[in-house]
């Protein structure tokens, strides 16, 4: 079947089967290889992207069921530069393989979280619990999310 997908603001028509997963469309058909596959079973979060603003694991999402706009790490716009920089400045990654998933999960959080929540480390860890990182021990990721620059970003994009 042929479906229409809007990804990072661009419309695409792609031919797929009923079993095709979103991650394969993104990576193999649209060449958006920023989204990573770590398990293909919904257990690691490496493939996290946004669909209609919600964080979704692309590896366990059937492509034909996607109606809303898809956003991948390639589509993180300039507003999110402080988030990316915070990951770099606080040790939020080492090998970088989990990073696109972490960033997308974080981007969703920033859009929906009241500011005071972002200083609650236990809550943040709970929210990030679906994203495995084998390198950093999570310390740097949590530091990045709790950094001033990221708070400022969240403040600017605070839910109305």
């Amino acid at each position: 079947m042929i479906i229409r997908l809007t990804v990072n603001g661009r419309q695409h028509e792609v031919e797929i089967s009923a079993a095709t997963r979103l991650i394969d469309v993104l990576r193999d058909q649209l060449g958006l290889t920023g989204t990573k596959q770590g398990c293909r079973a919904g257990e690691c979060g490496a493939c996290t992207i946004l669909v209609g603003g919600q964080p979704i694991q692309a590896c366990i999402t059937l492509a034909s069921r996607v109606r809303d706009e898809v956003r991948t790490v390639e589509g993180l716009d300039d507003r999110f530069i402080p988030l990316r920089q915070a990951f770099a400045d606080h040790g939020g990654f080492q090998c970088g393989f989990c990073t696109p998933g972490q960033l997308m999960r974080a981007a969703a959080l920033l859009a929906e979280t009241p500011l005071e929540r972002l200083s609650d480390e236990a809550w943040l860890r709970e929210q990030m619990n679906g994203n495995v990182c084998r390198c950093t021990g999570y310390c740097g990721i949590i530091r990045a999310l709790m950094s001033e620059d990221v708070r400022a970003l969240a403040r600017d994009n605070a839910p109305e």
């Binding site: 009923a18 079993a19 997963r21 990576r27 290889t33 920023g34 989204t35 990573k36 596959q37 770590g38 398990c39 293909r40 079973a41 919904g42 257990e43 690691c44 979060g45 996290t48 919600q54 964080p55 979704i56 694991q57 590896c59 366990i60 999402t61 059937l62 069921r65 991948t72 790490v73 390639e74 993180l76 990316r84 400045d89 606080h90 040790g91 990654f93 080492q94 090998c95 970088g96 393989f97 989990c98 990073t99 696109p100 960033l103 480390e121 860890r125 709970e126 619990n129 679906g130 495995v132 990182c133 084998r134 390198c135 950093t136 021990g137 999570y138 310390c139 740097g140 990721i141 949590i142």
Partner: protein, 1122 residues
Amino acid sequence: MTLIGTRTRHVDWQAITDGSAAYAADLHLQDELAAAVLRSPHPHARIISIDTSRARVLPGVHAVLTAADLTKSLYLDYRAIDRDRRILAEDVVRHIGEPVALVAANDAATARRALELIDIRYKRLPVADTVAKALSSSAPAIHPHPETRNVAAHVRRDFGLSPQNSPAPAHSLKGSFTSSRQTHATMETHTVKAHWNPAENCLHVWAPSQNPRLIQRDLAQLFGLEPASVRLHQLAIGGDFGGRTQISSTEALVCALSFATARPVALHQSRAEEFAFTKWRLSWDIDLELGCDAAGKVTTLAARFDVDNGAYNQAGPGEMVYGSVALGSSYRWLGYQAEGRCVYTNKVPASSFRGAGGYAINWALECAIDELAEKAGIDPIDFRLVNAISDEDEVSLTGWQIKSSGLRRCLEAVREGIGWDEKRPQGGKGRGVGVACTIHVTALSRDYMLRSSCALDIDRKGHVTIRSGCGDSGTGQKTLICQTVATILNVAMDQISIVTTDTLATPHDAGAGASRGSFVAVNAAQTLANKVRSDLSAVALAHFGDGNGEVEWAGGEIRKGNHVIALGELALLAGGAAEFYSMQSDYVGQFHDADPSGYEDISPTYSFAAHAVEVEVDERTGSVKVLKVVAAHDSGTILNPLSAKGQVEGGVVMGLGAVLGESLIFEEGRVVNASYADYVLPRPVDSPPVETIFVDVTDKKGPFGSKGLGEIPLITIGPAVSNAIAHATGLRLRCAPHTPDQIVMAARRRDGKPLTAGSIAARPDRWWVEGVRAAYPLGLHRGLRELAENLGGPPIATPIEALHPAETLDQALELLDRESDAAPIAGGTDLLALETQGLPLPGRQLVDVAALDELRGIEARTDGSLRIGSAVTLAELARSEPCGAALRRTAALIATPPIRQTATVGGNLCQTKRCWFFRNGFDCHKRGGATRPCYAVMGDHRFYHAIQDAHRCQAVTPSDLATTLIALDARIEIRSAHAMRHLDVGHLYGGPGETRLTPGEMICAIEIPCEALHRRSAYRKLALWQGAFAIATACVSAKVSDDALVSELRVVLGGASSVPQRISSIERRLTGRRPDSALIKESVGSWLRKTHPLPGNHWKAFAVADMLEDLLSRALAGKETA
């Protein structure tokens, strides 16, 4: 300006955070073929015949290879004398997953289909899948060559006084330790691409590794090429941790296929293959005997150890040899003797892992030292201050010569950081603090480890391009090299770029491993930059016509007095005709050959660390919570505090994994927990904050005074945790990881409590089940397994065929009725996981019900009851006020936030069982049918199997919601195209994770009656990590009057038997009473006596009983309301 010692961003930060960093799977080579590997299903068998003719003629297949088609060369691996590994098995397979044949085809599906067409006959050979079996007198010989059966290598050490000549110690300790079977679990699975291009006479390879030259070297020798004819290309590397520092078993497979097809070939391992078929950390069984005198000074150490090598030699013998020396090198022993064996077993080969041979021996020794200090009545920090090797210029009994040491300062720093003096006197009440320390090498002083070259080019704009052969897998060498060059040439970081890995563009580098990455690569960069600086300074002076003297380098310019020249211009001048300047420089450290006695100064310099941790231990459930970690390190000058801190934090958390949860579980040589769900690695919630302290030390040998750091954090944390648990509980655990079962049972043993829970005598109705279980070890298991093998493998699952959208519920029901093999899909989280795992789906014609209005929403009805649509997500449920705290909490503890966002109530109730044998490829009773055994009876059933009322299958129903819904008297509304019916949730299941729904039926809603919503309800869950599938769940729901009279009571357990059940015996005993703690205890005790656990899950029955008792007391008293 110096950048050394400043926090410097990773040079690739932009690419890593915008998704453009290219890992192996992100490249697409033109005309790329997909590879598939036929792997041995047997742990030990002779190959009788292989017939590939049917596979070869399958359209789309380009090559089918077996050992007969390939070179007979052996892998080089680590030590020449140990070589025994081939690309494909020739006549004998020695472990499950050993590659036997290869296919290259147009696409992965065709390649897999071709594998099915290869006819191969095996004759099973006796199996030795454990060290004990491999060493027994009746063991089969796994390899023909070792002198002593199955002993791949043997080592003996004898330093200083022998025990006979040394004074009898005042205090002594004897103990046996077993380390865990950690696996690397890099987030990027092994992914390799290769292209043999005959015209170029070049084998192009894309293989992530922190040690590209070793991969190049091994591929060249395997295929008889000059190293220059093998080109590894630059790539982003998704983690290494020692797992890819030497060649694995994937690289050569792809190269062989490319030789056969002259096309690019790609191999991408699945996560399950990654867990099951790639190297893991060598596990050690270590016996130690050590002592100290009355003043607390250590005397002698004696050790015996066996290292589980798996079926082939990779790092095993070498790591054992290193460990045998390291064990005697950290304390001031008067004598040290050791004897060790590296033992072949029929398992996937174990090999190098961050920390190498230092990991297991340090864990065992630091636990033993702690215990010895306790025996001597000396504070463990003081004991280490007195006894550990820690003085500059001090030489260990084994010849290690200390160049610089901050160990004492590390110990003092953690003493203060953790609040030792205040917390240490208060141990034993479930909270405790522990400490451990480590000395670790910075490279080994061997030829191959200490050679690194570095080159750079400067163009006319003054841009510097560094070329280094290192492979930075996330540890930060690239950034360190750039910092080094930027500092010495005094140019800005953005004026520098770096090319790594590419073996054509870069000079030789020794790679990373043994904590040498920064040492060698930075040394090479430093040598190079100094050479460039003096070379170009001379050119500048000549250009200035100003004789000799000093020039000044600043901001990309070189000046002297009034003379100034831009770096780019100077490069042109010096480069002459080339129009750019190039320079290469070689660093060769001091090395020597190993001394057979083991006595030598083994490393250029040594790093030190001390860690202290605080833990909270719940002896009743066995859970350990790490509250705080203070990690103090002497790694000399810290070149980049940002990445150094990351190394410590990452190493600490990985080390926590190894000591508290991570371990591969093997059953008959096959990995049981081959998924992120089942392999317990640290997640954010369970990981503590880490306070990192670098003590100020400048080393004499290291570049800028620095020393290695990559491995030592992981080596140090484990024993600190074991020692903290001992402080908290008095339990000295000697087998890692310290999972809940160990803690519960050790505490019971300490207290003299019974070790068996229920007794079968109390359950005559279960005697037949017990009879079947008893027959398993007597031959039933084996018989069934062999029968199953003769019947062929499990049915091959087929993927989703169609997805039918539905606008209305009626339409959906209609579709479910009409299509054969139909099933609803809502969140799809379990369904797609099943498909990935190759398990049968509930249906292949899927009807999409996620968006149906009729199934959405939580409705509070006028009669006070609640109706929850089956497509309500777990996240919505967790937020819903009317559902009550117990149900909200149940939902909130399921899986992870992204799963809860998608997964639905109906899907949760209907999910397939989570038994790890069933999920991870075992051809079991439930997968292949009645002729198959249940692997849990004889296998590892500590966590996820029944403690009562199991039948032939020991699995349980995985739905946590079911537990709470039963306690809330919930009923399910079930519809089909023709009818509607209601069913109590308690009657939903006919077997483990098996519903009584008939084809065409679907759960539409859950109804909770008003009375239940007004009861006091509370819920608990036992799990190995927050978000894991439950070990067990419990929910209590009670109507309690103001004067504590219980008039209604539901007590429900999930995960304890094949289906979630009310425990009516407890309900009966407590209803109509005002239960006090004695009555509660008595009622739970009566339930416990009627459980009939498997041999390895009595602990679970105890933990559940304790959880229940606690939950009942608190819930009935109104103290726990969720």
